[in-house]
């Protein structure tokens, strides 16, 4: 039997060690940032900014979701701002920046995938990345992004359809 009164009890305030939070989550957050930006340097900047924002907001984090979920949310919001910066900087969306490290060579197929994913509208890209690369279910993405499951599903479907068109020569 579920004790209904438990629902009304606010979660206990928790204390978080910044170093521990960063160490446990930095690689996962970096991976998401890399997929959203498509290049190492921006992904590194974005990852760093996620933890700076997280630290500043740590006092307001009520522990109602996992800290990882909360960090993903910050990354997604910052990724949106990054996208805007790209648009307003007049960088052509056709030109996804190449990796800085010369020893990393993408195949033509990978370059095409990066370009196609990079050109998706932000919401579709974000949902596609979280589902395809991070393995989240639609329901979980909805929870992280504060949206309805229906809109997440719609965005995923739209992303897949657009990618089919962009990558039709390769599939």
């Amino acid at each position: 039997m579920i004790d209904q009164t438990d629902k009304n009890i606010p979660p206990e305030p928790q204390t978080y060690d910044l170093k521990e939070v960063i160490t446990s989550n930095s690689q996962a957050i970096y991976r998401l940032c890399y997929r959203l930006t498509g290049n190492v340097e921006d992904a590194k900047d974005l990852t760093q900014e996620v933890f700076i924002r997280a630290y500043k907001g740590l006092d307001n984090f009520r522990g109602q979701s996992e800290i990882k979920t909360w960090l993903y949310r910050i990354a997604i919001n910052l990724g949106s701002s990054w996208r805007k910066k790209e648009v307003f900087s007049s960088i052509s969306l056709d030109e996804i920046p190449e990796p800085a490290a010369p020893d990393w060579q993408d195949s033509d197929k990978v370059r095409a995938v990066k370009k196609a994913v990079g050109q998706l509208p932000y919401k579709q890209k974000m949902v596609f990345v979280m589902r395809q690369y991070e393995g989240f279910k639609h329901e979980e993405i909805a929870k992280i992004t504060g949206r309805t499951e229906g809109s997440v599903k719609a965005n995923y479907h739209q992303a897949v359809e657009k990618l089919k068109i962009s990558l039709k020569d390769l599939i």
């Binding site: 910044l18 170093k19 960063i22 160490t23 930095s26 690689q27 970096y30 890399y34 997929r35 190492v40 921006d42 992904a43 590194k44 900047d45 990852t47 760093q48 900014e49 933890f51 700076i52 924002r53 630290y55 500043k56 919001n77 910052l78 949106s80 701002s81 990054w82 996208r83 805007k84 910066k85 648009v87 307003f88 900087s89 990796p99 490290a101 990393w104 195949s107 197929k109 990978v110 995938v113 990066k114 994913v117 509208p121 919401k123 579709q124 395809q132 690369y133 504060g146 949206r147 309805t148 229906g150 809109s151 965005n155 739209q158 897949v160 990618l163 089919k164 990558l167 390769l170 599939i171």
Partner: protein, 167 residues
């Protein structure tokens, strides 16, 4: 029969697409990036240097400043008679200048566009949003504004008023 074949073909194409998409691996940075990250973040918090977001403003400050001015103009154009919508547009201009993220600016402006007469510039901006960002799921931006507490609204409005006095 024809429909079934079509569905099977679509599923095959989706599978091939997802397989292809899976070939994109993450290029990881040098290991020291993760090792140093706690220190770098800690130093950033102490020194409060310009973040990538704020650095961005240096490069496109003129453009963003113009945008903010245009948004404030929208607020003026909307007039004091439409208090709630004016508040939305004002809040949006502030969000563009601060830490709330551009997506929310889009969301709020789109919402304002549904309920009030907008200037031609804002109509153009909203059209661009619709074309580029495909905001069709309206529950998103409605939720964005509902999330703001009265205290947050008050804070935003106070900041905007302060900025308006300096313009």
């Amino acid at each position: 029969m024809k429909n079934e074949t079509k569905i099977v073909h679509a599923e095959d194409t989706t599978q091939r697409l997802l397989q292809l998409a899976g070939s994109w691996e993450v290029e990881m940075p040098e290991e020291k990036f993760f090792i140093n990250l706690p220190v770098v973040v800690g130093e950033s918090l102490r020194a409060k240097p310009a973040s990538w977001w704020r650095k961005g403003w240096i490069y496109w400050g003129a453009l963003s400043g113009a945008m903010a001015a245009v948004m404030l103009l929208f607020a003026w154009q909307l007039g004091a008679g439409i208090k709630a919508d004016s508040r939305l547009v004002k809040a949006a201009s502030e969000w563009g200048l601060d830490d709330y993220g551009w997506e929310r600016v889009d969301e709020v402006l789109s919402q304002a566009g549904q309920s009030t007469e907008l200037s031609a510039s804002l109509k153009d901006y909203n059209s661009a949003i619709l074309l580029e960002y495909s905001i069709s799921d309206q529950d998103d931006y409605q939720a964005a504004t509902q999330d703001l507490s009265d205290e947050e609204w008050q804070d935003v409005l106070e900041q905007i008023s302060a900025k308006e006095r300096t313009i």
